[in-house]
């Protein structure tokens, strides 16, 4: 039997949500992959978990799997356990497995296990032993019960390695046995995937240290989508933009907006021309998370502004409205889409010197690093960056993100049938 080239294999893309209902990085990446593959003439189906359908299912009967567009499906996960890692209702799980197996896809590409269920993955693997199974691990929920952030719950210190006793210190109401069951279950399933895709070397290193070492894997950046990739990169006026800094994202404590707001007055003392714009939140949103920062915000005056929420599709354009994008997260960040968007826009970055941020922003090329959690060091970097010549230099070197051709080639490598060499085909 002739070997089917990887590019011709039909792919079912599964995600923990659908971008029409939630704009998280993982589901955005999964759906952008779906759209890009179809646009490239490939056979792809998207199946995403749906909060709306799940909430509705709690009140009235609803089909478990609903067609949401052409080859685009959403499903209700009301039958899952509270942690959304397994199904409490075996019947609903079986319905899902029968539906997915019935798609007869050659490849099942999971973009998460949360809201999909390790038991469902297991059953689907048994139902389709001939198919290729691929998983993209966007985050570290499997490793860390603290929303996968690998930050200690009490001290907010960075956690560098999972261990049962460390986890117990963060979650004293749990048991060592429960940690063992959870890890063994997740590892068992993940080791069965034919290929694992990591969006960054950082995430790969964490998962390999956790137990996935030796499994076929690759690092493949998420694809930003044809629409954003079609936007031409433009050079900005460095003289005018050098002192304009932007924060993009939610004002949650882990995103480190408070670090930036504390750094701003320090930087303003030496350079009153510096401005910071917060995209993604209003002043009130920020004060809700950081009420103690009200005096700092007041003191910053006209140098600080809040631009409110934005549509992800506008992100690249918004990035161009500032001279530098600042990513001051105090947690690791796996492969932040904000960094990709800034690089796409040609806007250099100032990022905390840890995890996915440090990896994705090459110091001296794509931007600068500062000591994680240090307003003083961030202020130092901002002052350094506010020189027009520095901005112009970085604007010239900041790298673009992965293109469609490279992305599809990376998928073809991962989607190659078990035991065969990848037949990567160039995207048309």
């Amino acid at each position: 039997m002739a070997e089917v080239p990887a590019a011709d294999r039909s792919v079912c893309i599964l995600a923990h949500s659908h971008p029409d209902f939630s704009k998280g990085g993982g589901e955005m990446a999964a759906h952008r992959q779906f759209l890009a593959m179809r646009a490239a003439g490939r056979r792809a189906v998207f199946v995403g978990a749906c909060d709306v359908g799940t909430q509705y299912a709690a009140q009235r009967p609803i089909e478990q799997i609903i067609e949401h567009g052409e080859d685009d499906y959403v499903f209700a996960f009301a039958g899952m356990a509270e942690d959304r890692l397994g199904w409490e209702d075996p019947y609903q799980r079986r319905m899902m497995v029968e539906f997915l197996a019935g798609l007869r896809s050659d490849v099942y590409h999971f973009h998460h296990y949360w809201r999909l269920g390790v038991d469902l993955i297991h059953d689907l693997m048994e139902a389709r032993p001939d198919a290729t199974f691929v998983m993209t691990l966007h985050e570290m929920l499997a490793i860390c019960l603290h929303h996968g952030q690998m930050i200690k719950t009490r001290s907010r210190e960075l956690c560098r390695r999972e261990s049962p006793l460390s986890c117990l210190a963060c979650f004293p109401d749990q048991t060592l046995e429960r940690f063992a069951f959870r890890k063994a279950t997740l590892l068992t399933i993940m080791r069965r995937f034919d290929h694992i895709i990591y969006p960054s070397e950082f995430v790969r290193a964490r998962y390999e240290a956790w137990g996935l070492k030796g499994r076929p894997s690759s690092v493949l950046e998420n694809y930003l989508g044809d629409e954003l990739m079609a936007t031409p990169r433009m050079q900005c006026d460095a003289e005018r933009m050098a002192a304009r800094f932007g924060f993009f994202g939610q004002p949650t404590p882990f995103k480190g907006l408070d670090i930036l707001l504390r750094a701003l007055p320090l930087a303003l003392r030496e350079d009153p021309g510096i401005t910071v714009t917060v995209f993604g939140a209003e002043r009130e949103d920020v004060l809700r998370f950081f009420p103690v920062l009200e005096p700092v915000i007041e003191a910053s005056g006209q140098s600080l502004s809040f631009a409110g929420r934005y549509d992800p599709l506008d992100a690249v354009e918004l990035m161009r409205s500032v001279g530098w994008a600042v990513v001051p997260s105090i947690w690791w960040e796996n492969s932040p889409v904000v960094i990709q968007e800034a690089r796409r826009a040609g806007t250099p970055l100032i990022v905390a010197d840890i995890g996915g941020m440090a990896e994705k922003v090459e110091a001296g090329v794509d931007g600068m690093h500062f000591k994680r959690g240090s307003p003083v060091d961030l202020a130092r970097a901002m002052l350094d960056a506010a020189h027009p010549a520095r901005r112009a230099a970085y604007g010239a070197t900041v790298r673009d993100v992965i293109g469609l051709k490279e992305f599809l080639a990376g998928l073809d490598l991962a989607f190659a049938p078990r035991g065969t060499a990848a037949v990567a085909q160039a995207a048309e």
Partner: protein
């Protein structure tokens, strides 16, 4: 009904009832002249005398002869066989040459055995209950008319009920009743003040025994292999041990307690003991009354420790030979020719999260085993993982326990501690969890040790102790050092801090009874797996 001859020869029947169609019972009393031989008999007329299955006498202080120097009164309980459909039934009291006859079918005689049993002197009823233990004929009283506790039902209903433990219970500051899987029961009556020297305690044990498969458990009065009732400065304690033969079928026990704190001052209790581990039970034996309730009573704690020492000595006398014999048998048992058993026991399935793990790893068991027994609080979740696939037989609960007992001494098992299995799976070596089977003798020893020296409710703890003791088990597999082969002390909040040393030393002696020093155990090779 009352039959009178003279002031020294009288006969009364308080109750006559048919326990079964071929067995009757009579309660009554007889007044007979002193110094004259007396005899009671039951006659069925032309069909001859009825065999007396049981006859017991007791004082009747409520019946006083005209001249106590000339006559004596004895209450009696007669259990007798009956011919089929007798035409008459007569009770005869022979006193020397004199005979008194009473028609046992007289309609004026009370026929309600429940009522008559409840209204008799409770000491008499209690005595009858104690005599019923191990007596097949009297035992039928507990099945009378199909009611739970049979003839004793109404009486039992009148007894004050204590479930596990109760505070401020009548004149007692605290009542506690515990039972362990070893068939031991402990009843502690802790007083708020000093207990006189003449105080005493007695008990009768009713066990709910499982019958044939599918049959409901039924109450049976159980004989005690050992009973030790003791008075302490501020408490009464009763320690009892059931005959081992009944333990396999024992579902639960109730303890009827009679205590006499002061002459004529009786305490009656119907205790439903709470389940306890052996350390819990032993600690309770020497725990004094909760401080908030107790008046200071000199040497109460030391007296408790003395009771503990006595109980420990009795336990070791009872259990050490049996454990030693099991250990010796295990040492001489022949290995299973390199074959692994096909019966797996999953222990410690206490977390529903375990269900997920076994859902995704069921195949590891299916290719190695024919039957999987699952024990633990989340056993059902784990069992469903196998049951849904239908490739192996899976058992939980009583069924699993029974299967394990049947395996003891006959077949080996692969004992898999759920958490240790999880660790092996995470390490990428699930086969490690299957490589240390227990042979048939070890299974028997494990069950025996868990019953008489188990330190935790779950069998998992005992399995781990056994594996550690033989120098290879989950602990060693996890990298624990060889010193783990020593007995691991029981960690608990001791009610009496001095008990810890005594109890741990006692348990250590039981765990090491007859066992060879810890040595690396032979690891059987994995069988060739196909598919």
């Amino acid at each position: 009904m009352f039959v009178y001859l003279d002031e020294s020869l009288q006969l009364a029947l308080d109750c006559v009832a048919m326990v079964t169609p071929r067995r009757g019972i009579a309660y009554g009393w007889a007044m007979t002249p002193r110094g004259v031989g007396t005899e009671l008999s039951v006659s069925a007329g032309a069909e001859g005398d009825c065999a007396i299955e049981h006859c017991s006498f007791h004082p009747r202080p409520d019946v006083v002869p005209a001249d106590p120097r000339r006559a004596a009164v004895n209450g009696f309980t007669l259990l007798f066989d009956l011919p089929e459909d007798p035409r008459e039934l007569v009770l005869t009291l022979a006193a020397g040459d004199a005979l008194l006859r009473a028609d046992m079918r007289d309609p004026s005689i009370e026929a309600n055995l429940f009522k008559a049993t409840a209204e008799r002197n409770w000491r008499v009823t209690f005595g009858l209950m104690q005599e019923s233990a191990g007596n097949a004929a009297l035992g039928s009283l507990l099945r009378y008319q199909g009611r739970p506790f049979g003839a004793f039902a109404d009486w039992m209903a009148r007894l004050p009920l204590v479930r596990g433990r109760a505070e401020n219970f009548g004149q007692l500051a605290e009542v506690e009743a515990l039972t362990a899987a070893s068939g031991e029961v402990l009843v502690m009556l802790r007083a708020a003040g000093a207990v006189p020297r003449e105080a005493e305690i007695g008990a009768a044990i009713i066990g709910w025994l499982r019958g044939e498969a599918g049959a409901l458990a039924e109450p049976v009065l159980l004989p005690l292999a050992d009973w030790h009732g003791t008075r302490m400065p501020a408490a009464l304690g009763g320690y009892g041990r059931l005959e081992p033969a009944v333990l396999d079928r024992l579902q639960s026990v109730e303890v009827i307690v009679r205590a006499e704190l002061r002459p004529g001052e009786e305490v009656w209790l119907r205790c439903q003991p709470g389940p306890a581990t052996v350390p819990d039970l032993l600690d309770a034996a020497c725990r004094t009354t909760a401080a908030a309730l107790a008046l200071p009573v000199e040497a109460a704690a030391s007296a408790g420790l003395e009771l503990l020492r006595q109980v420990l000595a009795r336990r070791e006398a009872a259990f050490s030979p049996m454990l030693g014999a099991l250990a010796a048998h295990g040492a001489t048992a022949e290995p299973g020719a390199g074959r692994l058993p096909r019966l797996a026991l999953i222990l410690g399935a206490d977390d529903p999260m375990a269900g997920r793990l076994f859902h995704v790893t069921a195949a590891e068991f299916e290719r190695r085993c024919d039957t999987v027994l699952v024990m633990g609080a989340a056993a059902d979740d784990v069992a469903q993982a196998f049951a849904r696939r239908g490739l192996v037989e899976v058992m939980v609960g009583v069924e699993a326990t029974q299967a394990l007992r049947e395996a003891a001494g006959r077949a080996g098992i692969i004992a898999v501690d759920a958490a240790a299995f999880a660790e092996a799976v995470a390490a990428g070596t699930p086969e490690r969890a299957f490589s240390r089977p227990l042979d048939a003798a070890e299974v028997a020893r494990l069950l025996a040790l868990h019953a008489v020296a188990g330190c935790a409710p779950a069998l998992t703890d005992s399995l781990q102790r056994l594996l550690r003791a033989r120098g290879g088990g989950p602990a060693e597999a996890r990298g624990a050092s060889h010193r783990d082969a020593r007995f691991t002390p029981v960690q608990r909040a001791w009610g009496n801090r001095h008990a810890a040393e005594l109890v741990n030393a006692h348990l250590q002696r039981l765990w090491s009874a007859g066992a060879a020093p810890a040595a690396p155990h032979a690891i059987l090779p994995e069988p060739a797996l196909h598919g």
